[in-house]
Each structure stands twice: as structure tokens, then as C-alpha cells.
Amino acid sequence: MRNRNATAYRFLTPYLLIFAIFWVWPIISSFMISFQATRTVPWRFAPGFNWGRLIGDPAFFNALKNTLLILVIQVPVMISLALVMAVLLNSPLLKARGLYRFAFFAPVVVGEVAYSAVFRLMFNLDFGIINKLLNSVGLPKIDWFSNVTPAMALIMIAVTWRWAGYNAIILLAGMQSIPEDVYEAATLDRVSKFKQFFYITLPLLKPVIVFCLVLSIIGTMQLFTEPFLITERGGPGGGTETLGLLLYRQGFRSLNFGYASAVAYTMAGLAIAITLAQLWLTREPK
């Protein structure tokens, strides 16, 4: 038995080595770095230096506020939208289902830079299609990139566009695993399709919805691409700067790795805390 384990571990060694060097070590090392003052060479151990700064840093609170705001608005909107999309995809009336399924899933596989560039064009002040559409229905143009509120909205729209279909596909798989005869029984019970959705589909889909929520929360906590590429590094004036962006700015622009590590640990801690709270709130009643 021992021998067999030893052989197994020898086979696993290459992977374990890579895992240790590129996963385990950075996790430990960044934790230790977060306790060092890294603005001056040589680094020195100063436990309160980064963590103390975090508590009073307006840039950190700005990024935290932006991240949480996006989380609180974008995630529920996106999951609701994904639910509606899943219901439509699941409808027996729908023709060419495979095509729609692909279309909804496609945004995830489109390159981030390409999609960000297209969004910048679409939301351009003077010649973007979105403002043209707004104008054509009599609404004023919106300067999406130079005001904070529209810029935040733009980030949320972009993230939602990119991930709603992905969540819809997951939810659709969940819906399709609900047996048809449960709905037939409800139909015989004179329960309308509308009520069937709220009293049967939603409760039975809850585990899948929670799964989507957790994925989205973790994803949004790390949000980086959209504010980096679409609103140009968290612009206007840090108005869309997220924790991910702050981390990047501190770590890789100012080379202040200690502070960046502290931010990273805060992000991970928050994601875990929010996810746990969420799991607790949606737990199965005994």
C-alpha cells in the first residue's frame, strides 16, 4: 500500500512542483509580503504598514465602494436576466434552439480586448450607435466616458452582456433537469404557467441559482478587464476604479507589492465572506 502511494506521488511530482511554485508559494509569499514595507529597498518587516494604510486609504475605500456597488447592482440584474433568457431558451415554442444557445454563450469566448474595443466604439459620444439610438427616440446623448454614473453603468452593462448568456446556459441545464411530469401535475392542479415558474421552477432551481451567484460574486470581486480597457484604467478620475484595478496600480505601476498584497487578501477575504453569508442566507431549511 505504502509502495503504491509512493509510486503515485512520484507520478504526481511534476504537477505538484508546478502547483507548489506557482500557486502555493505566491499565496504564502504574498501573505508575508503584505506585512512588509515595500516602498523602500530593502524591504523590511512592518506589520502595520500596509494594513494600517488600508484602513485609512480613500483610494482603497473608493475602489471598495465601486466594486461593491457593481456587485450589488450588476449581479442580481444579470442573474435575473439570465433566468429570463433560460426560460425563453427552454420554451418548446423556440425554433433553432442550438443557434440561440451558441449565440448566448459566444460573448464568453470573444477576446476581452476585442470586445472592449467594440464597446468603446458603440458607446462613443459622437458616433457610437448607442447614442444614435438614444437620439432617434428623442433622448439626449450620454457622455459615457467622462461622467462617473454613466461610466459605472457602462461597466455593468458590459459585464452583464458578457456573462448573462453564460449563466443562462447553466440555469438552462438546471431547468432541463426538472422532470416534465411535475409541471404536468401542476397543470392538472390548475396552476398557471406563471405560478409554476415561481412556485416550482424557482425553488427547484435554487441550488443552481446560488451556484451562479457565487461564481458571479467571485468574478465581480476580481473585476479588472472592463474598467481597465473600457473606461480606461478606472476613469473618469478613479470613478470606476475597482479593487482589482487598485491592486494592479499599486503592484505593477508603483511596484508597491506589500500594499498590493494586502489589497489582494482583502479582496479574497471579502469574496469568501460574501459567499458564505450568501450560502447561509439561501440554505435549505431543515
Binding site: P179, E184, A185, A186, T187, L188, D189, V191
Partner: protein
């Protein structure tokens, strides 16, 4: 009055016709069982009555009223599904009351109906449990309870016992019988198990490949099948079929010679048009209709392959000289230990080459 009338009912899925014109008259309070092999269209027919499938042709009437275009919930029926189709996230109590709650039935009335159903099915102490925490038999009771709560005129059952083990199946069979007596409602029950059909039904509808082969009371089907299929389907073990030939006719009827056994001749009185001499026929003999040598019309020598002892009775699996397989039922005490046995045919049925009964 909750009669159910099917008038030339047809079902097509696309161009594929799966029910070819069914005519059935279910009387008020009657227990009718649809039986037939897998895929013959029993469930489809039942689902058409429930309104879960469109009717492609013909008419279905419940209580004298044509329901082709009536919503399932307005047909006065309740259905028990093979898979139970319980709402997994609701307690037993919620499962029973869900339909009534959703449609705004007064709470007092809902409570009364749920309580009564629970009492009838003896599930009162399970009311707070989720379906996941129930045994198969208990789930089945809840499913039936959900039907009772609707107080329907007609109960529809689609193979409700097929997921239960043998012992529980017998027990639930008895309960459904009791339920039928207690409620006095019309019941239509689908199964592919002929024992269930025989024991439960007032009348049985035997189906094959979308056609109704025969409708009749259980013993009528057993004693007087219209064709070889019904004869083979009703009764367990199956009726034996032995090839034969008409060799003549005497004062008592036509004389049939069994293939490969010139000496075994059976005389069958026929009231209808007698088939011509020389025609091939099929002789049907139930396992229980073989007697000791000399007891019946004709003696037959068979070679025994296997003997199954069930206690009181035994089944001999044997072959005729011509190679036809036959099953013979015997008292356990009277099983010989020879490899050959001579049996008599006490009662037999004649079918023509197409399988239609000659009588």
C-alpha cells in the same frame, strides 16, 4: 355522471400514428384497466383523456360532455403518474394542498380535504416530510392523495405501481381496490402487468400497437379470448400455442391433428363457419388445462426440459415431438421423475393462421 367515452380516438405524433381509432365506453364508477405490451399506446391514450396530449382525431367525452378542447384542469380528472411527480421541495402536506392553495380554494375546505385524503391513505404522520425522505410506497400514497384531494370524477393511473417491489405492489394493489370501493369514482388504470389488470379491473381493455384487441371482464378475456394475442396476454404463465392442421370433421366438430403427432387429435365444436380441411391452425392450451393421461380429449407426449417447483404447484417446461415449447402446470405431488410424460388436453382454443379465434 362520470362516464368516459372514447369515440374513434386517433393520435398522431407528426405523421406517425400511434393510436388508430379507439372506441371505449367507461361506465360511471367502473374500474377499467388498459393493458398491453410496452409502446402500444396505453399512456398516450390516458394522457389524451387527461388533456396532456392533443387529440388528433375522434372525440373524448367525460360525463357526456365532449372535452377535446377543454383544459386539463377543467375535465374533472386527476392523474397519478408512474414517477409520482411529487413536488420535491414541498412537504407532504404542501404537496397535497398545493393545487388548492394556488387556485384560492378556501383554507378550511383545503384543510378538510387534505386531512381526509391523509386519513384514507394513512399518511397523516408523514405530513411534514419531504418526498425525498419517504419510501417508494409512501410516495405512491402521497401521489394518490394528491389526486384524491382534487375530488375528481375520474381517476387516471399510469402504471402507478411499477416502481415498487413485488410485495409492496401486491399491498398497494389491494389498497387501490379498497380506494375504488370507498370513493366509488370512475377509475382508468394503465399497466403492462396482466396480473394487476386481472385483479383490479371491472373491465380490461387489451391493446396492441395502437389497436384495441378486446374489451371485456377479466374472466371473459381468460375464458373467451377473441384472438391469439389476448389469449397469450391474459393468464400466467402464458397460454401454450401448438401448431396443428384440420384433418376432418365429425359429429362433435372439427378434428385437429397436432403437428408432428399424428396420433393426437382434438375435436373442437365450432358454431361459426368451419375452416376447410387441410388448413393450418394454432391450438392454444393453458398450462392449467393439461390433465393426466386419459383425462381429456387427446393425449400428448412431451419431453421435459426443466421443472420449477413453486410449492403447491409446479411448472414443467417441455417440448412436443414437433419442437413446440409447452408449459404444463401440475400439482407438486404429481410431478413424475421421468424425462417424458404423457398429458391430456382438457380444454383448448383454436386460432386460424392470422391469430383470430375459431369458434
Amino acid at each position: 355522471m362520470a362516464t368516459v367515452t372514447l369515440n374513434n380516438v386517433i393520435k398522431r405524433f407528426g405523421v406517425f400514428e400511434v393510436v388508430h381509432g379507439a372506441n371505449i365506453d367507461v361506465k360511471h364508477g367502473e374500474f377499467v384497466v388498459f393493458v398491453g405490451p410496452s409502446g402500444c399506446g396505453k399512456s398516450t391514450l390516458l394522457r389524451m383523456i387527461a388533456g396532456l396530449e392533443d387529440i388528433s382525431g375522434g372525440e373524448i367525452a367525460i360525463g357526456g360532455k365532449v372535452v377535446n378542447d377543454v383544459e386539463p384542469a377543467d375535465r374533472g380528472i386527476a392523474m397519478v403518474f408512474q414517477s409520482y411527480a411529487l413536488y420535491p421541495h414541498m412537504s407532504v402536506e404542501q404537496n397535497l394542498s398545493f393545487g388548492l392553495r394556488m387556485t384560492g380554494n378556501p383554507k378550511a375546505d383545503t384543510d378538510r380535504r387534505v386531512e381526509r385524503a391523509a386519513e384514507i391513505l394513512r399518511i397523516s404522520e408523514l405530513m411534514d416530510r419531504r418526498p425525498k425522505k419517504l419510501s417508494g410506497g409512501q410516495r405512491q400514497r402521497v401521489a394518490i392523495g394528491r389526486a384524491i384531494v382534487r375530488e375528481p370524477q375520474v381517476f387516471l393511473f399510469d402504471e402507478p405501481l411499477s416502481n415498487l417491489d413485488a410485495e409492496l405492489r401486491v399491498q398497494m394493489r389491494v389498497e387501490i381496490s379498497r380506494l375504488h370501493k370507498e370513493l366509488g369514482a370512475t377509475m382508468i388504470y394503465v399497466t403492462h402487468d396482466q396480473t394487476e389488470a386481472m385483479t383490479l379491473a371491472d373491465r380490461i381493455v387489451v391493446m396492441r400497437a395502437g389497436h384495441i384487441e378486446q374489451i371485456g371482464r377479466p374472466l371473459d378475456l381468460y375464458d373467451n379470448p377473441d384472438n391469439q394475442f389476448v389469449a397469450g396476454f391474459v393468464g400466467s404463465p402464458k397460454m401454450n400455442f401448438i401448431n396443428g392442421r384440420i384433418v376432418g370433421r365429425d359429429a362433435r366438430g372439427v378434428v385437429v391433428e397436432l403437428a408432428g403427432q399424428e396420433k393426437t387429435r382434438i375435436t373442437q365444436p365450432l358454431t361459426g363457419a368451419a375452416p376447410e380441411t387441410g388448413n393450418k391452425v394454432i391450438v392454444g392450451v393453458r398450462p392449467e388445462h393439461f390433465g393426466n393421461a386419459g383425462e381429456g380429449d387427446a393425449d400428448l407426449v412431451v419431453a421435459i426440459d426443466v421443472v420449477e417447483h413453486l410449492g403447491g404447484t409446479s411448472f414443467l417446461y417441455a417440448r412436443t415431438a414437433n419442437g413446440d415449447d409447452v408449459v404444463i402446470q401440475r400439482d407438486a405431488a404429481k410431478v413424475p421423475d421421468t424425462s417424458e410424460i404423457t398429458v391430456s388436453i382438457r380444454k383448448s382454443y383454436l386460432f386460424d393462421e392470422k391469430g383470430l379465434r375459431l369458434r
